[in-house]
Symmetry: C2
Subunit: 255 residues, 2 copies
């Protein structure tokens, strides 16, 4: 049995804890968090503490806190020589304090407390300083996901950046779609089949082969009209920038 | 049996023809297209013509051609008093030539020739000048989709604009994600679980409740670093604009 302590109690820690509770060979022996508020979301069966000095002895410590705090927090841990990993996409492995063995355990997914995540399909990207630790992280990763990959800090940085585009920015476009429909008495639900098909289509081909719409057709009349319909300056700017990007891309291809 | 003639042979016409072939009570009696090239995609069993004078007598004519050409093309039809509808999201009903009865039959979906569309889940938005025609369009709509709604030209214009954001622009962000991963030797496939979960999460709550990432957290350090990693000026501009939009939105909410 691999003993794991979670350090942090945010969205990622919460979903990891839930996944590990169902995992064979892994035991979450404790969750540490500075404030006790966050513990209310966790199952009662999990041992919790808000005191660094009470942290139990484990095979792996998983830090899941805000990016900015990872390096500083890792220096305050009252033990050494242990495997301490973080779950961040954009922080390299190196900033972790050197008194412990360093590693990364990055699940690539969007986590909100009130949604269920299918961890089996969530790829986990790992990194460690030596082969033994890498194998341990692989075991932990494979206990909750079918997809566990070794990746360098540099690649993970690029992957996280790509994730910002295809998840965070995409969700903001969903939000604009929500505003445009609901403000015109159209239920947002009517857009969902289109939203899901746009994501699903990627199974049939690469994104550029799937592009449709006025900008791809360079349909200037429709674009001018749509730009005029938009009220908010911010929406107009997003419309222009993305339309131009699409038109440029397909224009370039035709040359 | 409702007799339908399709005028045009692009992506929308192609998928409509396929859906109608399986529909009870609807018979595609003919597909017209100016050039014969496009017919090769259509089943052999469908009667085709590239001559306006050969168009058969039908209960409903569905124009599915580029937005700019709809009005002009509808004026060239060699018959009158018939129900003639178009399938465009952004063209109003009125520009159709007045010698025939006007209507709209707008399926809200992204159509590419090489993908299968689940029409049962694709909402169809209809409009007509009178109740009888509206009922006929409802019958046609319900023969292929579970979701058929009456909507005004003005609402449809807004809906189509929203669709550009949640489909066309979203797909371009997928494309940027594709470039960022493949150029760094990371398979794009690894982003797909995240992409699908981002779309699926909308079943759990509205988009703004589902937002995650550096911009939402106003994590300036990560944003500055990511902006620096991006090579293309266009990608930098998209990153800045969408990050600011997200930060502004959640900043406003906190006030």
């Amino acid at each position: 049995m691999i003993k794991v302590v979670l350090l942090g109690a945010g969205n990622v820690a919460f979903h990891l804890a839930k996944a590990f509770l169902h995992a064979k060979d892994i035991q979450i022996i404790q969750v540490y968090n500075r404030s006790e508020d966050a513990f209310k979301f966790f199952p009662d069966t999990i041992n919790i503490t808000s005191s660094l000095s009470e942290i139990l002895d484990a095979d792996c410590y998983i830090i899941s806190i805000s990016d900015d705090s990872i390096a500083g927090f890792s220096a305050t841990l009252p033990f050494s020589g242990k495997l301490v990993v973080h779950t961040s996409g954009s922080v390299a492995m190196n900033p972790l304090n050197s008194k412990n063995r360093k590693g990364v355990f990055y699940p690539l997914q969007t986590f909100s407390k009130n949604t269920e995540v299918n961890f089996a399909e969530t790829p986990v990207f790992i990194e460690a300083e030596n082969e033994t630790d890498l194998q341990l992280l692989q075991k932990i990763g494979r206990s909750i996901s079918e997809k566990c990959y070794n990746i360098t800090s540099e690649q993970r940085e690029k992957l996280h950046l790509a994730a910002v585009f295809v998840c965070n920015f995409v969700n903001h476009l969903y939000h604009i779609g929500y505003e445009l429909t609901t403000k015109n008495d159209i239920p947002f639900d009517l857009l969902k089949p289109l939203i899901k098909e746009t994501a699903r289509k990627l199974d049939d081909g690469i994104p550029s082969a799937m592009q449709t719409g006025p900008a791809k057709r360079n349909d200037k009349k429709t674009m001018a009209k749509q730009l005029e319909i938009l009220h908010l300056q911010e929406h107009k700017e997003i419309y222009s920038l993305l339309s131009n990007a699409i038109t440029n891309q397909y224009g370039r291809k035709k040359l």
